[in-house]
Amino acid sequence: MLGVLRIQGALPSAGQVRLLSARLLANKSSTDMTTNRCESSKSPASEHFDIIIGGGGLVGTTLAAALAKNSTLADKKVLLLEGAPELRGFDPSGPYQNRVSAINKNSIELFKSIDAWSHIEAARYKHVKQMQVWESNTDALIQFQHDNFASDVACIIENDLILDAVYARVKDAPNVEILNKARIQCVRLPKDSEGNLSELQLQDGRSFSCDLLIGADGANSVVRKEMNVDVFSLNYDRMGLVATLELGEDACDNSVAWQRFLPNGPVALLPLTDRLSSLVWSTTNEQAKKLQALPPGEFVDALNEAFCRQYPRVELADKAVQTLNSLFGHNASQHQVQYPPRVCGVQDKSRATFPLGFLHASSYVCNGAALVGDAAHRVHPLAGQGVNLGFSDVRHLVESLAAGAYAGFKLGDKQHLIKYERKCLAKNVPIMLGVHGLHTLYSTQFSPVVLLRSLGLQLTQNLPPIKNLFMRGAMGQ
């Protein structure tokens, strides 16, 4: 159908074609998969790569760097497609960016293995020695740290810095090509048990073929749509509000990450320097919009209030927590909530919002394609796991591809790609359910739930083995 249109319309622009096909779609109520499919015969002059990565975000670019670094895959030609123009580079002396990530140990190991960590170290990042999580309806709280603060819980790194570091590695790699301003128009994957190639066409008309197409193109992945996998997704009807904050004198070395569960969602402070922190505030769409528009002074007041305000207590739960603590022989002072440093300013234009949702693809692989990062799974930012899960996908995928290639499998052979999927599912699903569960658990003020969650949190705080289990999980060990 698309092909016919092209001929008649003497190559109308990609946009027009899409519009037309959309209209046809509406009329004929066929599925978009059939109209989106490239005609393979139409693109005889397509360039071939072994692996094409669709999407040059944090995860996609890191994947390209990791593929280039792997000695078994060193002879594979890789193409990285990114919709944005070329990265301008990162200025480590400039103002702090508002999008930051809490990077766990596993992800740092990955950066080290691809020689990107020294780049980050030479620029700027902040160690987090302790994490405190508490809530608004009771005194229940939990603190995570290593014994004697010997090791970091996580590192807070600006997303642009990570991207700059891995991008530099990719540019050095002889076997990776980067194509900027490249948006995927349509994708064609080999059908089951057919061994041929994956093909794709860009919006500017160029077409490529490859043995393996990797979808690193985010939550609205074009590659995933063509893979025809079931997707489970939820819209939380919440927005994340980010900002860069200036702290008062009481910040000390500012090495604690703070997170408080409020009735509308968690608000978190992630340290950037001794005097700067990054904010991630999840709340209802209306409140997020309102907060974003507030004058700076009022915004800072609202924020300080969010961390300190006494909300109506659930008395029963409060009592229960106290009883539990006394059972463990702790007095109240040991479990005093510490309060985060006072916020005294917000940097200009650093406030931004983004929607929050949950998404999980039923399968990450098919013949000729695989998904990584947000294209396969998207979680609430409350535990800082999203991008770390993406980086763990990268490690597993590169491992599986190298093992598969060294055993003579085709790169796109589902037979060995399925091993990547199994490893990832075993790791990702429990974490995703856990994070989603926390979000749900803390979205209510219903007394019995408050009671149970408070007891659960306090029990975890009081029982080191359980606490260590969670901590190791969150830190990716």
């Binding site: 057919e194 003579g408 037979q415």
Partner: protein
């Protein structure tokens, strides 16, 4: 024990027919006079020629077996020290190695070894199987065309023309379909260079492997066509070892394996009760002929 039985289930999915040697006409140059048993096995496998490359069909377990048998063969060859050190851990690891696959069927293993750089000759007695193998090579793996050669030829005939030529000879999932194992192995060994390795994978002759590989997979779970495996054709690793010993081949490795039908995966286990993979090295000294 019970657990073991269930685990085993599909035991070995059959494979390649072919290879069966004509007992009588060893000097003849045509491949027409197969004995009745061999003929039957070849036809049985030819009936599934079109299914061979379908990962989700009855050959699913054979596809999955590549996950462990390719690394077994690859590492077995690397361990002989004939691979250039620079090729280890690259996808050219088997470059320059000449490999004979006896009973290659549709070429599942053949192509994968060729993709590691090896020069592979696949022989089989099933015409339709060789045809399917050639078709697949042409349509889907044309880049391997210069590394793979398929021939419809009995192994004794091939060995005569290629005496002591190969670095490796593979008899994978074949022995359990052959009556005269000695003749087959003798011809395979003859094609092998001194110092080269013969790799064998098959299912053991034990109650668990019979129960899992025949009863469960053929008659209960219908994973494999009925009549694929027979008790009297199965052979234990010790017997294989004994036969190879008489041909001056020293067994260097025997690994046990089993098949998990629910996840379509093979894995190594620490006993050979179900299936096994064996590597033997042809000793350089003294005449094997």
């Amino acid at each position: 024990m019970l657990r073991n039985l269930v685990f085993a289930s599909r035991g070995l999915r059959q494979s390649l027919a072919g290879i069966l040697l004509r007992n009588s006409a060893r000097s003849s140059s045509t491949a027409t006079s197969l004995d009745a048993g061999t003929e039957k096995e070849v036809r049985h496998h030819e009936n599934h020629a079109s299914e061979w490359w379908n990962q989700n069909g009855t050959m699913g377990a054979l596809h999955a077996l590549n996950e462990i048998r390719v690394p077994f063969i690859r590492d077995g060859i690397v361990s002989r020290g004939t691979v250039e050190p620079g090729y280890v851990n690259t996808t050219k690891v088997l470059k320059g190695q000449h490999i004979l696959e006896v009973g290659c069927g549709g070429g599942l293993l053949t192509e994968q070894l060729a993709r590691l750089g090896a020069q592979v000759t696949g022989i089989d007695l099933g015409e339709k199987l060789i045809e399917a193998a050639r078709d697949h090579l042409k349509c889907f793996s044309s880049e391997l065309a210069s590394n793979v050669l398929y021939k419809m030829e009995p192994v004794d005939q091939h060995a005569k023309a290629n005496c002591e030529f190969y670095d490796g000879v593979i008899v994978s999932e074949v022995l359990e379909h052959v009556d005269d194992k000695v003749t087959l192995l003798e011809a395979s060994v003859r094609a092998l260079k001194p110092g080269g390795s013969i790799f064998i994978t098959t299912l053991n002759k034990t109650i668990p492997s019979w129960f899992g590989g025949v009863i469960l997979s053929e008659y209960v779970l219908n994973l494999v066509p009925k009549g694929t495996h027979h008790w009297d054709k199965m052979i234990s690793p010790l017997d294989v070892q004994r036969i190879l010993d008489t041909m001056n081949c020293q067994t260097v490795l025997v690994n046990g394996s089993t098949y998990d039908f629910w996840s379509n995966t093979w894995r190594w286990i620490n006993n050979t009760q179900m299936c096994y993979a064996l590597q033997a090295v042809k000793q350089p000294l003294s005449g094997s002929n």
